[in-house]
């Protein structure tokens, strides 16, 4: 192994690690605000990438009909809950707008020459389809049992992941897909070839992490989210709605997942079922951070990317084994560090 290979592997590792770090932060955020271990995080990556690929290949964007189904179900749920409460069947203005959105979007997608659009527009359209999935998922699957234990919420996550994988197969088909790079501009620094797309990913990742930090530290909404993460009941007593914060957390998770998918799609071929492993590598990062610390989680996720890249070179058959066994010394270290006798909820 020479320096050249080390640098290439490091670039690969850091690029993937940057994506895992984004996912780890998103997983951590969703967990601290809603106590949901959001395993379907990886499905957003895959759906985002495959939607973008479908647009570029000139295929119909079928996923928008799934959004329509989720939207109708979510709005109906709200109407039903209101009917049960005050006996009136009524659709609010906000409800009607929400209901119209996917159909307007579908019309738009049908009319636009998707394959000829500039890539940033394609990316924006992909986000416009994918991000609303976040709040609808929270409404439909998690909100009715928001007070359940972490374990029950996790089972819901796994069930949702399964359903989304099956739906992904139906919507996108079994073939993998790759998109055209955003920028293809070979960079030479000394003897090293830098992949410009990889640099773009790292940049995006850093920007998003900074943006998240700003959101949580500087804005009232961010502070409200943090308050819920810190003390749910207390935040609720201060008039912070748990439903709203839940939906907000899931929207951010959807945004981050989809962006990650759009960013990574030119470098890796993704299949309908690739989401699980991607998401779990984010989880490994989050677990390294003890499901508490954001910086350690991000660093852990980058480490996961690096270890993955180097073990792919040395022992490619054992790549996944090495990555997922990594979690064991981490857990061991955590369990030696403290032994609280605590009550599970």
């Amino acid at each position: 192994m020479n320096t050249q290979i080390v640098l290439i592997l490091a670039q690969d590792g850091i690029t993937n690690g940057a994506i895992y770090a984004l996912l780890a932060l998103s997983i951590l955020m969703v967990f601290s605000i809603t106590r949901v271990l959001f395993i379907p995080q990886g499905e957003f990556v895959v759906y985002g990438a495959l939607t973008m690929a479908a647009m570029q290949a000139g295929k119909p964007v079928r996923v928008v009909w799934l959004l329509a189904a989720f939207t109708v179900a979510a709005v109906l749920c709200d109407v039903w809950v209101r009917y049960r409460r005050n006996g009136r069947l009524r659709l609010t203005l906000a409800g009607s707008c929400t209901l119209l959105y996917p159909f307007v979007l579908a019309l738009l997608l049908n009319r636009l020459p998707l394959a000829q659009l500039p890539m940033p527009t394609q990316a924006l359209l992909t986000l416009a389809i994918m991000v609303p999935f976040g709040p609808h998922m929270y409404r439909l699957f998690y909100q009715p049992i928001a007070e359940a234990s972490v374990l029950v919420l996790m089972i819901v996550s796994i069930a949702l992941h399964m359903a989304l994988v099956g739906l992904g197969l139906f919507i996108f088909g079994p073939e993998g897909a790759r998109t055209t790079p955003f920028i293809d501009y070979p960079l030479h620094v000394g003897a090293i070839n830098l992949n410009s797309q990889a640099l773009l990913i790292m940049l995006t990742s850093v920007l998003l992490i900074v943006a998240m930090h700003q959101l949580f530290e500087r804005t009232v909404y961010g502070k409200a989210l943090r308050a819920v993460a810190f003390n749910r009941l207390g935040a609720r007593l201060m008039g912070i709605s748990p439903v709203l914060t839940g939906k907000a957390a899931f929207s951010v998770a959807a945004l981050i997942g989809t962006l990650s998918g759009i960013a990574i799609a030119p470098l890796t071929t993704l299949y309908f079922d690739s989401g699980f492993l991607i998401s779990l590598k984010g989880f490994v990062g989050a677990i390294i951070g003890g499901l508490i610390s954001y910086p350690i989680a991000a660093a852990g996720a980058v480490a996961v990317g690096l270890i993955e890249a180097f073990s792919a070179f040395w022992a490619s058959a054992y790549k996944e084994i090495i990555v997922f066994t990594l979690i064991i010394p981490v857990l061991l270290w955590r369990s030696v560090k403290h032994y609280p006798i605590e009550e599970e909820e």
Binding site: I145, V156, M162, I327, S335, E344
Partner: protein, 598 residues
Amino acid sequence: MKSRRLMLCAVLLLGIAPLVLPSFYVTLLNYIALYALVALGIVLLTGVGGLTSYGQAAFVGIGAYTTAVLSTQGASLPAWLAWIGGSPWLTLLAGLLLTMLAACLLGAMTLRLSGYFLPLGTIAWGLSLYFAFGAIERFGGNTGIADIPAIHLAGASLADNRHMYYLIWIFLLLGMAGISNLLDSREGRAIRALKGGIIMAEAMGVNTWRARMIIFMIAALFASASGWLYAHMQQFVNPVPFGIQMGIDYVFMALIGGSAQVWGALLGAGVFTVAKQLLQDVLPRLLGETGNFEIVVFGFGMILLLQRARHGLAPFLVKCMPAIKPRMRKLDPNVAALPRRIMPNAGEVVLQASDVTRRFGGLLANDMMNLSVRAGQIVALLGPNGAGKSTLFNQISGVDTPSSGEVQFLGQRIEGIGSRKIARLGMSRTFQHVRLLGTMSVLDNVAIGAHMRGTSGVLSAAFLRDRREENRLLAEAAKQIERVGLGPYMHEEAGSLALGQQRILEIARALAADPCLLLLDEPAAGLRHQEKCDLALLLKKLRQEGLAILIVEHDMDFVMNLVDHVVVMEFGKKIAEGLPAEIRENPAVLDAYLGGVE
């Protein structure tokens, strides 16, 4: 004995099934039983113990691959291993042993951590092991290992699925019987306390970490046995059925059936397997595409189940057929009473707290507290809300460790040794916020208190070798329940009692441990006048028997007419100490309670 007749019918039906059913259905029944054996472990783990594992399929794989390698590759194995392949029963043992080692290692790492690290950890190692099955050369990669010999039993080959059927179902029925026996025993109560009763169980002397380890181990061993049966039934293994998807499916089976009932595992495995078979036939035809679309139905179905009927299908079945409700425990009035502890002599110092200080950051919750309790004495700890009484209780009972100072119990220093060991020394307590297992009977709840006075383990419970001791424990629990006046409620669910009665129940549980020091945290709160009088009488009687009692209470009348000695706290400090009559006149105390007397 309606339920016994029902069971007999079921077993009879199972017995003739392979003689009359076509071979397809026999194979289906075989799969259902194989899955149910794994799901049974998850019922114990998730439904009873409150832990979850998505990695059970990997343990199935360990069982299957162990026997596959040992029984087909004897020629290329070193001699010290090759001989095991001679008999499938030996390979079963080898598989179980290997599984036990793996479970031990994984359990030691994850079971001490918060509940959600375990399921995440199980996904990770489930994936690792699955990839390992595919990557290790000896395991034949993704093509797997073929030509695994059939099992021979008493000279007859079990190569035919109809014959294998009996072996598989015997394994399952034995497993179910063993688990239901276990749950109805001393260790079983400790296991059932894991879900929401860990602090209480530790205070009753239960080693909750060990209990978690036990159920984790049992679940892993059941999975491994299922893998062994599977390998010899199929006579072929490859990595696919040991992947994470199968691990998730096993959890779903347990949840569909109802993870709190032993037979829920069988119900769930049955419903799941049949539904999967049907969906795999129907869905591709409906959608016009091939692919495993049944996971969409299972995914959304599971979410709906968790939202609407979190306890699975079993409760509905129980409602339709009351005969399958668990029977009430019969008490044997003639068993010998449990041996009792040698009590300290009256007047001897039992508990001595010296200069106990507890800091929470900048807050001094206990500041140089001194306190002693003698055998045959009732001491009251008084003070306004937030004075630090409960904190001091926690320092004494080992739930918390003092920042400085020492606590001596029967002449032994106990700070930092943990509530379990302290309980073993003879201290027992009640909790300010009652900690009961609401769905268990009053009798079972109190019997947890007597946990330390028995010794029967898991195996003797599973094979019913513990019944003599078990009867003595239950008789002791019943005695204490009668003593505190809850006799009529003995077989009710503890959660259905009024709050005052639940507090009394906690006293009975504490007494079942046969303590020499009793810590009572606000025992009279929520009691009616007559109940308070009865409680005072009981405590006086216990004092006569030589018990030392430390009590936190707000009801002045109750305390002043009962106790021998009063300690008053405010802001973490002791402000007064003495006889009840003196305390009543103490200006500092009046100041603290009434805001000053001008």
